[in-house]
């Protein structure tokens, strides 16, 4: 493992030994430390003061150094392996850093005014330039609008997916799949404009949470269809046949065997769709209009919603409203995160059991 190592770069192509030189196990960690130091060094030398810029230099140094070190000590194949490994790690960090930074920033700024008062009061009669007020009306609005949207979109989406997987053959199924794909790409503002022209301008209804919910439902539906479809396709045909061979009608087979087997994945998909539309603001601006007071009735009158509230408070442009916007953002993120956790819990709880 020592004498022939450096000479025989291409592995053991000529020798009979299966052994070859390896970098010690601690080498990558040492390399991380060294490249961090070097990154900081280069950064300061070039007069940059952001740790993020130093980190980018360090990442670059790390990738190059692990390849070169691997090539010198271990040979070409191992070096390429090290290059790929370090690239994967660096990309992972690049993906995670913005997320963590975002969460950190939101928590840091949002917690200044986030308390029971903020969660329990609206902006009714609050002078926007002064501290105080809260997002209760916006939370109610978001819950009602998203809940209604889910109530519309989930049944339709589920049934569409069941049709596509269990019954759909030929041209109609192809057309449905095509339009679902098209719907996935509809910008939220377009969905909002559609409901605005159809529901409010043509049919003459007024602004309401329900109008917003319909636009959100349009955005949710293709996500529900797509994810449910994938989950239903994962259910093995053997289970369907086993049920049919017991003399169970097809609809009962779908209801009692196929859906329960896939329910974990379907719930996850639905929750992700809910999380996706909970952050929509464009249709809300168009259709729900925004309100400062509490309106518990989603079918009549203007409401607010968390994304809209954030936008509105940010527009006001003073310290107190900035704080309120950050706190509302924190509430929104927490809402989405809780939904995801619930979805994971349900998926784990309902997953087909294989253990003893």
């Amino acid at each position: 493992m020592s004498s022939n190592a450096v000479v025989d770069k291409g592995g053991s192509r000529h020798g009979s030994s299966l052994q070859q030189a390896r970098l010690p196990r601690w080498a990558p960690y040492a390399l991380v430390v060294v490249s961090l130091a070097l990154g900081a060094g280069i950064g300061t030398a070039l007069g940059m003061d952001s740790p993020f810029q130093w980190g980018l230099f360090a990442a670059l140094v790390f990738i190059v150094a692990s390849y070169v070190l691997g090539a010198v000590v271990e040979g070409g194949r191992q070096a390429r392996d090290r290059l790929a490994t370090s690239l994967v790690w660096v990309c992972f960090l690049l993906a995670v850093v913005p997320l963590l930074s975002l969460i950190w920033e939101t928590v840091d700024r949002g917690r200044t005014v986030l308390d029971g008062y903020f969660l329990g009061h609206s902006m009714e009669g609050v002078q926007t330039i002064l501290p105080g007020g809260g997002a209760y009306h916006a939370i109610i609005g978001t819950l009602e609008q998203v809940g209604l949207a889910a109530l519309i979109a989930v049944p339709i989406g589920l049934l569409t997916a069941i049709y596509l997987v269990e019954y759909g053959r030929g041209k109609l199924a192809k057309a449905v799949t095509f339009f679902v794909d098209v719907m996935t790409g509809i910008p939220s503002i377009v969905a909002g404009l559609f409901i605005l022209s159809f529901w409010i301008i043509i049919l003459g209804f007024s602004y309401s949470g329900f109008a917003g919910a319909m636009a959100l439902a349009i955005l949710m539906m293709p996500i529900v269809v797509r994810s449910t479809e994938e989950m239903l396709k994962l259910v093995p045909d053997e289970l369907r046949e086993a049920s049919l061979a017991l003399g169970v009608p097809k609809w009962r087979t779908i209801l009692k065997v196929v859906l329960p087997t896939a329910i974990g994945g379907i719930t996850t998909g639905v929750m992700l769709a809910v999380a996706r539309v909970a952050g929509e603001s464009a249709p809300i601006v168009l259709l729900v209009f925004g309100a400062t007071g509490i309106n518990n009735n989603p079918f009549e009158g203007a409401q607010s919603s968390l994304p809209y509230y954030i936008y509105e408070q940010w527009q006001l442009g003073n310290e107190a409203s900035f704080n309120r916007a950050w706190a509302a953002a924190l509430v929104l993120i927490a809402f989405v995160m809780i939904l995801n956790l619930v979805a994971r819990g349900i998926a784990r709880w309902k997953a087909p059991k294989s253990g003893r």
């Binding site: 053959r169 093995p236 053997e238 289970l239 369907r240 046949e241 086993a242 049920s243 049919l244 061979a245 017991l246 003399g247 169970v248 009608p249 009962r252 087979t253 009692k256 065997v257 329960p260 087997t261 309902k350 087909p352 059991k353 294989s354 253990g355 003893r356």
Partner: protein, 258 residues
Amino acid sequence: MAKRIDVSGLTAYYGSHKAIEDISMTVEPRSVTAFIGPSGCGKSTFLRTLNRMHEVTPGGRVEGKVMLDDENLYGSGVDPVSVRRTVGMVFQRPNPFPTMSIFENVAAGLKLNGSYKKSELENVVEKSLKGANLWNEVKDRLNKPGAGLSGGQQQRLCIARAIAVEPAVLLMDEPCSALDPISTLAIEDLIGELKERFTIVIVTHNMQQAARVSDRTAFFNLAGVGQPGKLIEIDETERIFSNPSVQATEDYISGRFG
């Protein structure tokens, strides 16, 4: 309970492809009939036409008659769902429902069909599990998931599930091909017991197995790739394995081809 199957002039298609052609045979009640033959000769397809599972595959259709005692399975107005309640099926790979416990798996046929009494259910489950020689192994863990059993146990669970709905006929599509010799033996013993109550049809690739378990054996063959499979002959198992009347059968059984 056990019923006679009388097939005449049965031809099955997948779309435009003719899978089996002009098959006629009689399956005696309370006996085991084995189907043997090379892969692709249509044994499984023919088996699936006997409870209309063939139609589950898109494009699957059938010409001809399958009489179950005096009812034509393919007569007009016959509901495939009720056919499948009378003619049960066990598949090649054990396929217990993964979301259900052992108890629920056995009870599935009754529960999913909606007509059952709670008190009845426990009796049926116990009787079926005993009938499938599985009761002693699982009676203490009926609420555990069915997928946690070993392969052989899972297959016997599937047999228990199939006989729980009291079918007249039990079709088995290579029920032992995914199992080890010990589990195979258990299933073969079980088949010997079940034939007292049911008409049993079994597809197998294992000729020793056909010789061991069956009373009558049918040999299927196909003329070439893409040709439809045909029934070559059906006779007492002893005769098929000692003195078949067709040369191709003897060649196949003695291992000269296939």
